[in-house]
Subunit: 184 residues, 4 copies
């Protein structure tokens, strides 16, 4: 994972992967047909454990929906910028276009779950009268978009201007819940 996330598929050398694993290049071929198969299986294997946490998140929670939205977003940042998920997200972003199988797999196993999570969140808010039934409800992923953007920033512009995660989250939540306009 780490090698692929750091160098990308093409620039990653099997020798580096092997030595990280404490084995020799040839040993890899006892377990994987070739570099691409290794890549796909590595990604799949690392994606699966990340699904459960997303599942749990909504389950038991009582109280106002806006607090729930805030909590969900905070957790998203924590996970997608954390050491477990960040490399995977980076790989999906950079290599997904060249490996449709992986993109599809990731979409179905993770992204679509996130979509459902957000939809149910929004529906709950609408049902309770807290949220408007706006265009956002049908395009829930817009709510999570800034998290993706934060991951991109982290691996791209952090050398120039480091991401200020806390401020970023605050602004994100503010925008998501209140928007820019003054409330009358």
């Amino acid at each position: 994972m780490a090698e692929f996330a750091t160098h990308g598929f093409a620039a990653t050398r099997l020798e580096d992967i092997a030595s990280r694993a404490g084995v020799v290049k040839g040993t890899i071929y006892l377990y994987f047909a070739n570099k691409e198969a290794l890549f796909q299986e590595v990604v799949r294997a690392n994606v699966l454990p990340t699904i459960a946490p997303v599942q749990d998140m909504i389950a038991q929670f009582s109280g106002p929906t806006d607090a729930l939205v805030e909590m969900v977003l905070r957790r998203m940042y924590g996970q997608m910028l954390g050491p477990d998920l960040a490399p995977i997200v980076r790989i999906i972003i950079t290599e997904g276009g060249r490996f449709p199988d992986i993109a599809t797999f990731y979409y179905e196993e993770v992204v679509s779950k996130g979509e459902e999570l957000l939809r149910s969140l929004l529906e709950r808010g609408v049902a309770s009268g807290e949220f408007e039934r706006s265009a956002i409800v049908d395009e829930q992923m817009i709510l999570a978009a800034p998290v993706v953007s934060a991951v991109v920033w982290r691996t791209t512009f952090d050398v120039v201007r480091p991401l200020e995660v806390e401020r970023d989250i605050e602004a994100h939540i503010e925008m998501a819940l209140n928007g820019l306009r003054v409330r009358s």
Copy 2:
């Protein structure tokens, strides 16, 4: 550009670039020291023309600031998903981490300009009493984040679930201006 955007730096073959340019591999070395120099110069040369449109965007505009925000966001989508900028943005996202020079260059020439643009927009809205002085004003890039996310989606999950740009834009603007909560 097209080759690098499609395959990434490592997987791009000079032969492909050359044949696209209607020359032979060796000819490239009459103009560039090596593959990396070619890459960097190609990106730089293609980034520069994209700056002007960003500059123009703010220009003179009268009328309510929320309409201005909407216009700016629509233009951002139009450009960053368009054929000129999209490949560059894709390259910055995928290779920026491995080419800090390029990331820095792009940040300074493009991203920082966008930051200023958005800040002046928000300040204008605050000054006119239309917008709240919220956390968003100090973290303006949160406004543009969904555009980045849209570019990522286009090159990643479009095969699974194509991006519905129009709905995405509507939701984005709705969120940016009004947020989720019902207006009292």
Copy 3:
């Protein structure tokens, strides 16, 4: 060795070296970092075994020193024109200027030993009253110079006028011991 001695460093092709060794070009890189490293290691490895004979040469020898000088010179011709040392000497001569490391190494491991050998020879002759204490004693290498010249001739003018080694040695010894002038 043979390839480098025949063609020089620049004109030697790794493919030729590999096929001589019964392997494939790529195999070379399992053992040497690059062409230059291969070259340097090949020279070093082949120089080392040539040191011992030089060492032995002086050993114990009783009898008149002029006979000892004659024997040493004859052995020098035998070795430096022989199949083991000749290629190395040729390489040192042709490539030493471009590879100072190798020149230094060869000087320290071989040439300086030869210098000592000749000095001790001459000192012995002076001590026994057989030789004059002339300028030759302080510039002992002049004694070996014709051997170098013979190696150069062999690889240069042998096609035009082959080196007549025996006559050459006789003349060399005659000159070294007696000089041109008639003895009074």
Copy 4:
């Protein structure tokens, strides 16, 4: 000349030669068929002017032959270590083996003249009763051999231990005229 002498035939780049000459690579092909033809013509053209001085040297000289030998040897060192001849000698030594035409040409135009020069010198000494008719007379080149050796040293070991030309010449003359043995 300078380029070929410094880098050898294979490693010399036509571009470097051209820029030294203040022209462009392609221009060379207006005057020479290819790299090898250029090389051969360059060497030939630069060898020819060096012949005359050798010719003159013996011509008019009266006095003892040993003084003549000394003078000839000193001039040989002066010329072969000098800026005009040294590069040529270096080229002949390093590339002569790979370019028999050049070696033959150089032998016939220069070396054979030197041989004659030395032979007539020695015959004169023998005729006048100054020199012995020894093996040296029939292998005259042994007299010049240390000069060749000095040129080799200059381009090979000078970085380690610089050639001390004056001492070298003294020793050479001493050896040539008197040899090592004490005169009775």
